[in-house]
């Protein structure tokens, strides 16, 4: 049975929420920056460092590694406010959400010392090195291979859809380190310097012409033994737990939030049709947020809610698209991507971004299978 327990924010958590809102209103007032859509927002390392100063990066990491030893729910509160504000989160996004917790869980003490304090200070940035041309949803099919070398490994292969590889420092590469009968065995995670000799980063133009995603070719890149994350051969289990960190968070249901807020700002009240769309959207966010929050509570309780996370991500990403569709129908013309109106620009960006909502971080079809397994059918 799936577990979605009712949950409210405590007074301390509400205080944190108020602090984040005050911080954003003061440091990043509306009109002073170009807000983005959820995870696809802008990149601003100075802003990431300002968050770090507040203790809002690496929040759940231990103090000895520069973290704040706060809860998953506290991070949830900070992240939802940043995303709904359209704040420039891209510099720290992957490191804060998944690489930090992943290194803490599986990395050696030396690896933790090397990366976690820097993540908490907003200094280093990470990309994700999972997908390949022949390994999309079927990640066990990765062909990137690392072979033993003196003091480390030499790694060759091609990674695909590596977001931010052109601007980030490192990426965690899922690769084959041995051939085993079960293809889920013999995989490992290596932390690779994106500026190392042998790395070639080629942009992939997305639907809207932006070049955030890349193809990363690794040609005999040397990776020292210290940069092996966790155990050699344990990459599949580690990668699976990394994926769990990618799901069910507010980024899976807030990607189109700002389109609605800007609609309201520019069109004021609107008519009954607009009210109906607005009411549906608000009710959806209210409900999905409670489900998403309850998953964060399960994580804080030490549970591994893989199925619940998959359910929420599947629901949330479809909802993001439905909300967008509802707002889109309220305006007569197709939006001009270069319009003066921020609403119109965000609407255009969201329409072109929407197909990726239900693909990135695990397609909805895969997520439904993950969830169904937990229902024991």
């Amino acid at each position: 049975m799936l577990r979605f327990a009712p949950s409210e924010l405590t007074d301390a958590e509400l205080m944190l929420q108020a602090q984040v809102r005050d911080f954003l209103a003061a440091e990043l007032p509306r009109g002073s920056f170009a807000p983005g859509l959820g995870m696809a927002a802008g990149r601003d390392q100075a802003f990431s460092r300002a968050l770090a100063t507040r203790g809002w990066l690496g929040m759940a990491l231990p103090r000895r590694f520069g973290g704040a030893e706060r809860s998953v729910v506290d991070r949830f509160i900070v992240v939802e406010e940043l995303l709904r504000w359209g704040a420039p989160v891209r510099h720290h996004w992957v490191a804060d959400r998944q690489t930090g917790p992943l290194i803490l869980r599986y990395g050696s003490g030396a690896l933790c010392e090397r990366f976690l304090p820097a993540i908490c200070r907003g200094e280093v940035s990470f990309s994700i090195g999972m997908s390949e041309p022949e390994a999309g949803s079927d990640l066990a099919a990765v062909q990137t291979r690392a072979t033993r070398a003196a003091g480390g490994w030499r790694i060759s292969g091609t990674k695909l859809w590596t977001g931010g590889a052109h601007e980030n420092d490192w990426f965690v590469v899922l690769c084959r380190t041995s051939d085993e009968e079960d293809r889920h065995e013999g995989l490992s995670q290596l932390i690779v310097d994106l500026h190392a000799p042998g790395i070639t980063v080629r942009p992939i133009a997305y639907l809207d012409g932006s070049e955030f995603f890349n193809e990363v070719v690794l040609d005999d890149v040397f990776v020292s033994d210290e940069l092996v994350l966790g155990d050699v051969g344990a990459g599949w289990a580690q990668n699976t737990s990394e994926l769990a960190l990618e799901r069910a968070g507010p980024e899976r249901w807030l990607s189109t939030y700002l389109v609605v807020e800007e609609y309201l700002r520019e069109h004021r009240g609107g008519d009954e049709r607009a009210h109906a769309a607005l009411g549906e959207a608000v009710a959806g966010w209210w409900g999905i947020r409670m489900l998403s929050l309850s998953v964060a509570r399960l994580l804080d309780a030490g549970q591994a809610p893989a199925a619940e996370s998959a359910l929420v991500k599947e629901l949330g990403t479809r909802f993001e698209q439905d909300v967008l569709d509802a707002v889109w129908r309220l305006v007569p013309d197709d939006p001009d991507p270069a319009a003066e109106s921020l609403f119109e620009r965000l609407l255009a960006a969201a329409i072109l971004g929407a197909p990726s909502f239900t693909i990135r971080g695990g397609t909805n079809e895969i997520l439904r299978s993950v969830a169904a397994r937990a229902m024991r059918v």
Partner: protein, 281 residues
Amino acid sequence: MTFAQALAVLRERGPDRAAESALLGQWLLAYAGLDAEAAEVTVAPGRAVERVALRDGQVSGIAHRVPWAREAAVIALLIDGRTVVVDRAAVMIQPHENIAGDARDTVVFDAVPARSGPGVDPDELFMRGALTRIALMAGSLDRVYEIAVRHASERRQFGRTIGSFQAVQQHLVTIAQQAALAGVAADAAARCPRGFEIAAGKLLANRAALSAGRAAHQVLGARGTTREHPLGLLTRRLWAWRSEYGDEHCWSTRLGAAVARGGADCLYPAITGGSAVVSVQ
């Protein structure tokens, strides 16, 4: 029965006259200062009345869709700001059923002697009514989920359980999601029974009734469409409750108008804070 107990009964056991009476009828009588004598009190939903009037202590008019009026001890309704109560024995009842086969009777008042007292705001009654339906719907959706999962794991076709087919699993995921949404909505609305939570909760429950009901019937196949299968009573009631005390249009426009009044800067605070931030009128 306390407020929380009555809502829990509706959610766990389904339609229950005593619980509904406690939440709606006896609540109206208590507010009016009228003695309910622990009797079962049914309430005429405010929007389905014709020419009802209170004159010289006598009620005239017609009320439609009154739940189990034929079995209630007394019938309560709001007329012009007053709660009016009549004995069932004094009225004429035309039995009617909703699509679930549950009694939704027409009550004819022909200058019937009535007791009356101060009435609640009719909208407050409407919201409380919606709250009872949210609880009923959340509970029923949990049972729909259980039935669908059990069937999918037992029924074999093509040599395998049908739950092993991805196409069937997708339906189960829809039911699980919608039951979970209605569940957290019912929890939140019970904890904070105010305008925002009730509006959003009924909207989510209504949507869940439709999509989970459809998905569950698809999983159960022809078997689920028979009169004897338990799924059918659950879905028929879900569909009936979808319309009672506010359909999607009613609640989405009210909720949307309220957040539009609050303005763009209050939109996200409304999503996280609900009625503490925005007042749904």
